[in-house]
């Protein structure tokens, strides 16, 4: 009996071990890649117009979706929040509810997810396509480092854009919350803003939100350029790399968010 089970179990163990080793190798390679991208940073900023161009493509072109989503999320928060708060007669707390939810969590996280799916996938597809059409090899053969010229500017374009996008998301969300809460529902504007200002602190609420968006920007941009640079040079390869970018970046955002929230807001408000 055990003679029959053992080979099957051994094979399964071998598969698991192999998967873990592969994941480890990929992680090690990704870390080296990250270091290489950081190393080429001075090059990316020497060719500042390249990085500016990438800020345009990652940041400016994401504005529409970020602002609209922020507005809608803020409005929904306001509606749902009012419904629950009014049951306890605490509807004056609506401003602080909307503001804290957005600034601490929803701003960085949702804009990070949107950024990953819009800008992240575009970056991966672009780099993957350049690889497929041998543009990256051509650059190498012309003695120009593609990491410095193609990868690093896109990475920094993403990292720089994210905090601004997250802040804009939160700002528009609060504005949306104001529209619904004060104008539509009729909560007192003074209470709305006053409670908010009293309850939202620059440190830790706003600063932690900014830190989170920086971390998310780094994670998404790194995953996007990594997947693009290492995509298989075929149509299927590029498309699966793009999908992987969105999935891995989204999961990373949520996981990192949890870890950071534990450290940032654990007991920060309690005496």
């Amino acid at each position: 009996m055990s003679a029959e089970i053992a080979p099957g179990v051994a094979q399964w163990l071998r598969r698991v071990g192999g998967a873990v080793t592969d994941a480890g190798i990929k992680l090690g390679y990704a870390s080296r890649f990250f270091v290489a991208v950081l190393w080429e940073t001075p090059g990316a900023f020497r060719r500042i117009h390249l990085t500016v161009r990438e800020i345009y493509f990652s940041g400016v072109l994401s504005l529409v979706i970020i602002l609209m989503s922020g507005l809608f999320v803020g409005m929904v928060l306001s509606l749902q929040g009012y419904e629950t708060l009014s049951r306890y007669g605490a509807d004056e707390q609506l401003g602080i509810l909307v503001a804290l939810a957005l600034v601490r969590e929803l701003g960085p996280v949702i804009s990070g997810l949107l950024f990953a799916s819009r800008a992240g996938s575009a970056i991966t597809a672009e780099i993957g396509l350049m690889k497929t059409t041998e543009q990256l090899t051509a650059m190498e053969m012309m003695a120009v480092d593609p990491v410095a010229r193609v990868v690093a500017p896109r990475f920094w374009g993403g990292v720089i854009s994210m905090p601004f996008l997250a802040a804009l998301f939160s700002a528009f969300g609060i504005f949306g919350g104001y529209i619904v809460g004060v104008r539509l529902i009729g909560i007192d504007a003074g209470a709305f803003w006053g409670q908010m200002t009293a309850g939202v602190d620059f440190y830790p609420d706003v600063t932690n939100g900014i830190i989170k968006s920086f971390v998310f920007g780094t994670a998404v941009s790194l995953i996007a350029v990594f997947e693009g640079y290492n995509a298989k040079p075929t149509a299927e390869g590029v498309s699966s790399a793009t999908t992987r970018t969105v999935v891995m970046a989204s999961l990373s955002i949520l996981a990192l968010d949890f870890v950071m929230t534990v450290f940032m807001f654990r007991g920060a408000r309690f005496v």
Binding site: E134, Q135, A138, M139, A143, D145
Partner: protein, 289 residues
């Protein structure tokens, strides 16, 4: 794709002593070179010499390892064994900085052009100049227009690559390959997929530029007709080995079976028609109980 070697911050290619080329040595020499992708052997003991100033064609069926030879010369791959040298310098042993300095003396034409799609034709050709020299913009402009004129596309200078036909894109890529007056130009399937007129144009350009600029050209192709018209020497590669070589006259007159199959385009011969498979009869009648 492995991480690329770091580029040299120095903009003067001649300044790097590690890549001083020997003017007396042949342009490219491969001595008993072997290479394998993981476990699959691709090249098994290749020896070839490419003299300066000549055009040499490397011919073979698809997948015979021709492009691998180009990558070995360019330093993208390291041979498993054997020596790859350019101008007397052993390429695989170069430091990353020296390798990048050496590459500035190369030009490469990729199969479908590999033009940078986010830049115009003008900017594509100006790219190596702007990256590796401190030329003022007026000089860059003059040089770019000169190169474009040499390939007959000066009027297309401000088009985007997406607006070019296949043949035009190939010619622009050629202009880019010679932008810095290289000593060695490598052509990866320059004739693939072109109409007869473009074929003739590209072939003529390869010959004329080689002679006018005194460069050495290595052409990897399987277009026999065009190659025989313009090259000085041919190597035939099959299954990782060199099976034949000679000048165009020798090749045309050759009685070697492989050369004859290639030149005549015969479907069956030393390169078999049938992919290895078990006996036809056995397969058809298998599992008939």
């Amino acid at each position: 794709m492995s991480l690329p070697a770091k580029s040299s911050s120095a903009r003067n290619p001649g300044a790097n002593p590690a890549c001083r080329l020997d003017p007396a040595a042949a342009a490219v020499e491969l001595a008993d070179v072997s290479f394998a992708y993981d476990v699959r052997p691709v090249l098994k003991g290749i020896t070839m010499t490419i003299p300066r100033g000549k055009i040499v064609a490397i011919m073979g069926a698809s997948g015979s390892g021709k492009t691998t030879i180009l990558r070995l010369i360019g330093g993208q791959l390291r041979p498993g064994s054997g020596r790859v040298s350019v101008g007397g310098l052993s390429v695989p042993e170069l430091e990353p900085e020296a390798l990048y300095a050496l590459r500035r003396k190369f030009g490469m034409l990729f199969q479908f052009g590999a033009l940078f799609t986010d830049m115009s034709v003008f900017e594509n050709i100006a790219f190596p100049m702007r990256e590796h020299t401190e030329f003022p913009e007026e000089l860059v402009r003059d040089l770019v227009l000169m190169k474009l004129h040499a390939v007959g596309l000066r009027g297309a200078a401000y088009l985007m690559p997406a607006e070019l036909s296949g043949g035009m894109a190939r010619r622009v890529a050629l202009a880019r390959a010679i932008a810095l007056d290289p000593m060695l130009v490598m052509y990866d399937e320059p004739f693939a997929g072109l109409d007869p007129i473009s074929l003739g144009v590209i072939g003529q350009l390869i010959r004329r530029l080689n002679d006018a600029l005194s460069i050495t050209s290595v052409v990897v192709t399987h277009d026999v007709y065009e190659s025989l018209k313009i090259v000085d020497y041919l190597y035939f590669v099959s299954d990782g080995r060199i099976v034949a070589s000679g000048t165009p006259e020798e090749v045309r007159a050759s009685s070697d079976r492989y050369v004859r199959q290639f030149v005549d385009g015969a479907p069956d011969g030393p390169v078999p028609f049938h992919y290895p498979a078990p006996s036809y009869r056995e397969e058809l009648f298998a599992d008939v109980s």
